[in-house]
């Protein structure tokens, strides 16, 4: 409502304070008396000095320039932007959890450990895996760990030449990037037009140098890999392992399980399927589940249930070690735990069903106005190959920007890379029919506008706090911090 364009540094004024700590109640000896003078800086770092009201107004006004799930529809494909329940936030702020230090003795954090153990079992049940680690801090972190486990497994078996990982070209960028982090060489295979694996291509790529295959199912186009059993068989027969990118779990909860499809390693994005909020870019949580034979390689520590209570154990000689400082994002997976309890077995299944219903409803309602990447029922998301060029011409980017004027967050654009002018739409189960209808109408209106008033669309957005931003200029001449004017 209010225009607000200040940077916090521009508000700074010496002697202002937004917060004070209590006076020191011990003797104030000078730092030089116990620290070498050379170790001390000459002047305190330049942090802004503002009053508390200016601080609150600054961030309140900035928040008002942001669009969140609580603002409106957010059909960002692959990101599963579903409602973040408020009870999760309340539970995550209980001092009995927040005020525990990661280095406290196990006996003092039995509640935390029990929660971790319970969640491990729940996630195993949902995915059909045998054991989970909660240590990864995001999806990609889970991917990296999962691939490390894969590699560790082969190495442990003496199978050291398995350094390649097969990744379809439809995959998310984090998949190959995570493979690189785990020191694997990426072999990209072309997917079929519908995003499914080309079994022939796969078989050609398989060999005794292949560590495994990385996949998501439903695939990036929102379609179920019908040949998943054959794929699994082929990979396993070639001595490889199957890795499941869990970003698409919201399609299948209680319906089918990666573990049952033949996957050996799975990561989940709790900040997608399991409603932990995305925070404008994190924190997330990316637990990794494995089949029995991979359990020895899981990171330390893990929770053990003993007679005397729960215990964090580091006793695992084959473990890959650690990938993050403590036990992952405890405050985040706690929210996922609350969500799973809130939904129960019945609610989770219903969530997947309605997510799929909503996606199909959108897809079929839009199919005359936009090109479908594949005309076949989708799962929880689907991909449009841009506008229906029989009606009008308009690049996907402009359609997305014009949607902003209609009050909707646009779908994911230009991903997956295998579809031209892609618009990847994921409505999730938390949206109502009315909201979907409103979105459908907006999408259709934009097609009409593209025909009748293309300039209007091309110059969008018109109603946002800033107009279209110069991204090329930003990259060419990077200004990545504020500096006082000379």
């Amino acid at each position: 409502m209010k225009k607000y364009d200040s940077l916090i540094f521009e508000l700074s004024n010496p002697d202002r304070r937004a917060f004070e700590i209590p006076k020191n109640d011990v003797e104030e000896v000078s730092l030089e008396s116990f620290l070498p003078k050379e170790s001390l800086r000459k002047e305190a770092p330049e942090l802004p000095q503002v009053s508390q009201v200016d601080l609150m107004r600054h961030y309140t006004n900035l928040s008002n320039k942001n669009y969140g799930l609580d603002t409106g529809f957010y059909p960002l494909g692959s990101c599963t932007m579903k409602y973040n329940p408020k009870i999760n936030e309340d539970m995550a702020r209980l001092p009995s959890f927040t005020e525990t230090h990661p280095m406290q003795d196990d006996a003092l954090v039995q509640g935390n450990l029990e929660l971790m153990d319970n969640l491990d079992q729940m996630l195993c049940e949902i995915t059909g895996m045998d054991k989970m680690t909660l240590q990864p801090i995001a999806g990609s972190h889970g991917e990296m760990l999962g691939l490390m486990l894969m590699k560790a497994y082969h190495q442990d078996k003496g199978d050291t030449k398995r350094t390649k990982i097969i990744v379809p070209d439809s995959s998310h960028g984090t998949n190959p990037a995570s493979a690189a982090m785990a020191g694997l060489d990426v072999v990209t295979i072309e997917s079929k037009e519908n995003g499914e694996i080309d079994l022939g291509e796969l078989k050609d790529a398989l060999g005794d140098d292949v560590a495994g295959l990385m996949l998501t199912n439903p695939n990036t186009l929102g379609l179920f890999e019908k040949q998943i059993q054959d794929i699994a068989k082929a990979v396993h027969e070639a001595g490889g392992l199957l890795y499941y990118d869990g970003a698409n779990t919201n399609a299948i909860m209680g319906i089918t399980r990666p573990g049952d499809m033949g996957f050996d390693i799975v990561h989940l994005n709790l900040h997608k399927t399991f409603t932990t909020p995305h925070g404008g870019g994190g924190p997330g949580s990316g637990p990794v589940g494995v089949k029995e034979r991979l359990v020895p390689y899981l990171p330390v520590p893990f929770v053990e249930k003993k007679e005397a209570g729960y215990k964090l154990s580091y006793d695992s000689p084959k473990s890959v070690g650690k990938i993050s400082n403590y036990y992952g994002n405890f405050g985040i997976y706690l929210r996922a735990y609350v969500y799973i309890l809130s939904m129960g077995y019945n609610g989770l299944k219903r969530a997947s069903e309605v997510a799929v219903l909503n996606a199909n409803y959108l897809m079929y309602s839009l199919k005359d106005h936009y090109k479908l990447a594949v005309d076949r029922p989708c799962k929880h998301e689907f991909v449009l190959a841009g506008i229906n060029t029989d009606i009008a011409e308009m690049p996907t980017v402009n359609i997305a920007k014009r949607l902003l004027d209609y009050g909707h967050h646009p779908p994911t654009v230009y991903f997956p890379l295998i579809v031209n002018e892609a618009l990847m739409v994921e409505p999730t189960e938390t949206e109502s029919k009315e909201m979907l209808d409103d979105f459908i109408q907006a999408m259709k209106d934009i097609v009409e506008e593209s025909k009748n008033d293309p300039e209007l669309v091309k110059t969008a957005p018109h109603t946002t706090p800033v107009r279209k931003l110069d991204e090329v200029g930003a990259a060419r001449n990077p200004i990545v911090r504020w500096k006082p004017e000379e």
Binding site: K65, N66, H101, L108, A177, G282, V300, I323, S342, Y361
Partner: protein, 447 residues
């Protein structure tokens, strides 16, 4: 039926009809029968809010912590947290947003990142910062990869006085990329130029210094180490506790190439290990090697200042396996918490927090040495954390302290058998004289 699922059975019917289907089941036809889960998931049925509150209270009550006086550190500190932080991050426009892919409706998140980057560079004395990393330990690993990438060498040198978990994480990351980790033994707890000289070579990609180190000591040969590292064409990575930069020389002051650390201390709670965030800042010439998101300033169509994600060609979604890192989702909200913290404290406030922490730690340290039989693990300049030892096993000492409601610290035996009875004690600005005097009293009472 389910509060988080909007559509009702009637909506379902209407929607199916509109698109010409008879049942949701039809959308799942392509899943082979053998793969269908032909039973319910073995989970409980849905619980209501009220039942969840009861359950979570029960779980929480199995923890102890919230009313204890905390002297545990090891990189995670119990500090005063301004109340404004939670109010800011509870703005749902911030916490329910995705990564700002559509800048025109994400100026809030983007400006927050831009300001965060500025705050971190000001704090560390470096040129550029990214938008955050997972945590301090993985930030060290990412910095090591940067050094490898920049120098094309394969060896990372670290002293043995860094956080043991950082070492663990670094080992894992390096091992899978077939990179070499060389551990330098420290002398009396600190990293010396002489020790480095024995290991450094033309194969060295990067050298890590942690200041203050895990034992809380302030490293005193950093300048020499930086010089030696640069002479060998390697990068100097400095891992720091951000609060100490309120008074200690910054990585920039020392001429480090990359500064990293864990941001928990900047207004993030204890949270049993997470979420916190890792920060990373570097010199200008490393900007294109950086992992993670970076926000940049630009202008809109009308020439108005605005912010976007920039230099994205480093990133996985464009460069795939050639990206500088796989990181995608980072720790944005925690970085926002840190920003609010740094703004709330301001230039003077952060110096005050650092100063008080150090002063209080020295009060406790001096009292212990004066009044008890405990001895320092290292008799060297430290900042706000120090090791003490005695004939009594540290576990017993902790037990005695716990009886008085005190969490005594970290048993140093996790760093090796040399430290058998060692206890690492952290003192922040939050600790009071009364609490410290009680700590001392318990130690006095131990025989």
């Amino acid at each position: 039926m389910f509060p988080y699922i909007a559509n009702t059975p009637q909506d379902e019917k209407d929607m199916l009809k509109a698109i010409g289907f008879n049942s949701i089941e039809e959308f799942f036809d392509d899943i082979p029968k053998e793969l269908r889960l032909n039973r319910d998931l073995n989970l409980k049925p849905a619980m209501t809010e009220a039942e969840i509150k009861t359950h979570m209270a029960e779980l929480g009550n199995k923890n102890q912590g919230k009313d204890l006086v905390n002297f545990i550190g090891g990189g995670v500190y119990d500090r005063h947290i301004p109340s404004v932080i939670n109010h800011v991050i509870s703005r749902s426009e911030f916490y329910t947003a995705y990564t700002p892919y559509q800048p025109e409706i994400s100026q809030g998140s983007l400006q927050v990142i831009f300001e965060y980057q500025t705050l971190i560079t000001n704090l560390t004395g470096m040129d550029v910062s990214n938008a955050s990393l997972y945590d301090g330990a993985s930030a060290v690993a990412e910095a090591a990869f940067m050094a490898v990438d920049k120098t094309r060498n394969k060896e990372i040198i670290v002293p043995d006085n860094i956080h043991p978990n950082t070492l663990r994480v670094l080992k894992t990351y390096l091992r899978f990329k077939d990179l070499d980790l060389v551990i330098v033994p420290t002398k009396e707890g600190t990293f010396t130029k002489a020790a480095l000289e024995e290991k450094i070579s033309k194969n060295t990609a990067g050298v890590l210094v942690q200041n203050p180190n895990f034992y809380g000591l302030v490293e005193d040969e950093i300048e020499e180490i930086v010089e030696l590292t640069h002479k060998n064409k390697a990068l100097l990575i400095m891992s720091v506790d951000p609060i100490t930069l309120g008074v200690l020389k910054s990585p920039g002051d020392y001429g480090a190439d990359i500064a990293v650390g864990d941001g928990q201390s900047l207004g993030n709670g204890l949270n049993f290990g997470g979420p916190y965030f890792g920060f990373m800042a570097a010199t200008n010439k490393l900007i294109r090697k950086m992992p993670g998101r970076i926000a940049g300033q630009t202008v809109d169509k009308d020439g108005k200042r605005g912010f976007v994600l920039t230099l994205q060609t480093r990133e996985q979604h464009i460069r795939r396996e050639k990206a500088t890192s796989n990181i995608c989702t980072n720790q944005a909200l925690n970085a926002l918490m840190a920003s609010v913290y740094m703004v709330a404290l301001g230039k003077k406030g952060i110096a005050e927090v650092a100063t008080q922490s150090a002063q209080k730690a020295h009060y406790l340290y001096n009292q212990i040495l004066e009044k008890t039989n405990f001895k320092p693990v290292y008799d060297k300049p430290f900042f706000m954390e120090f090791g003490i030892t005695s004939d009594i096993p540290a576990a017993k000492v902790k037990e005695a302290l716990l009886k008085e409601g005190i969490l005594g610290g970290i048993e140093l035996r996790i760093c090796g058998d040399d430290f058998k009875n060692g206890l690492l004690v952290a003192v922040t600005e939050k600790r009071t004289k009364k609490e410290m005097d009680q700590f001392v009293q318990v130690l006095e009472g131990l025989k």
